[in-house]
């Protein structure tokens, strides 16, 4: 129960922090979900949802994220999830749900980034992949729902990961393929 509550708190804090407050404009009231996350002294909020102001996730050990979040509706019997959005398709990475019979509507605490990296390194074939990612999240409860997307930028050198070399090799190889295809064949008019 403590672990589940901890995960809920993290989710409600970090994820609601990165959700746009009005993800479903016209459906949800403004500010239905809100929160902030402090990473290395910088506070991030739902405004960090574009490429130019993506939330940087340091590629370092020992990083702590101070989070706080809240929902402005009855929050009993809730469920939610997080997904990485690739080409418009959501690939779920975590889900949660709890009766929350005492109707807790806010959360705050400290999350160890090393915990997330440990899970990623154990599950993802190439480990943590640097780059810019679109993350989506949703939260449903008895009194309402909210959802949204944010951009996170996992810092690090792409060439420190095998996928970086594969991507670079692919561009060189198939770039050469285009060049080869554009070579005139002898004897062809």
């Amino acid at each position: 129960m403590v672990r589940r509550l901890g995960f809920l708190l993290f989710a409600a804090g970090l994820l609601l922090a990165i959700m746009p407050a009005v993800a479903n404009a016209g459906v949800e009231p403004e500010g239905a979900c809100w929160g902030t996350a402090v990473i290395k002294g910088v506070t991030y909020s739902p405004e960090n949802d574009t490429r130019s102001n993506a939330i940087p996730i340091p590629d370092e050990e020992g990083v702590q994220i101070d989070y706080s979040g809240q929902v402005n509706f009855e929050n009993m019997d809730h469920s939610g999830g997080i997904a990485v959005r690739i080409a418009g398709f959501d690939i779920g990475i975590a889900e949660w749900g709890d009766p929350n019979s005492d109707d807790t509507r806010s959360a705050s605490g400290v999350y160890e980034l090393d915990d997330a990296y440990e899970k990623i390194d154990n599950v993802v074939p190439f480990g943590r992949v640097p780059g810019i990612w679109v993350v989506s999240g949703w939260h449903n409860a008895s009194g309402g729902e909210c959802s949204g997307t944010a951009m996170i930028k996992i810092e690090g050198n792409p060439l420190s990961n095998p996928l970086g070399w594969i991507a670079l090799g692919g561009v060189v190889l198939f770039g050469a393929g285009i060049g080869w295809a554009a070579l005139a064949r002898p004897g062809r008019p």
Partner: protein, 76 residues
């Protein structure tokens, strides 16, 4: 058809996919619909057009449409 259009189309498609992956890895553009579907289609067309035009490696002609080596030099 002067070049290799099938090679150009396939290479362009895969070049676009790997380019999208690179843009994501280097933090320039996420893997969204524009990069995952748009870039491969764009480079497929570019590869196909380049293969059809085959602008690379053509022998220079003497203005007759024939390779320079086949153009007879005028007698002095």
């Amino acid at each position: 058809m002067r070049g290799r259009p099938i090679l150009g189309a396939i290479s362009g498609l895969l070049f676009g996919l790997f380019l999208a992956l690179n843009l994501m890895l280097w933090g320039i553009w996420p893997l969204d619909r524009v990069s995952v579907f748009g870039l491969p289609v764009l480079f497929l067309v570019i590869g196909l057009v380049l293969a059809m035009l085959a602008p690379l490696g053509r022998k220079r002609t003497g203005g007759t449409g024939m390779p320079r080596s086949e153009v007879e030099e005028p007698a002095e």
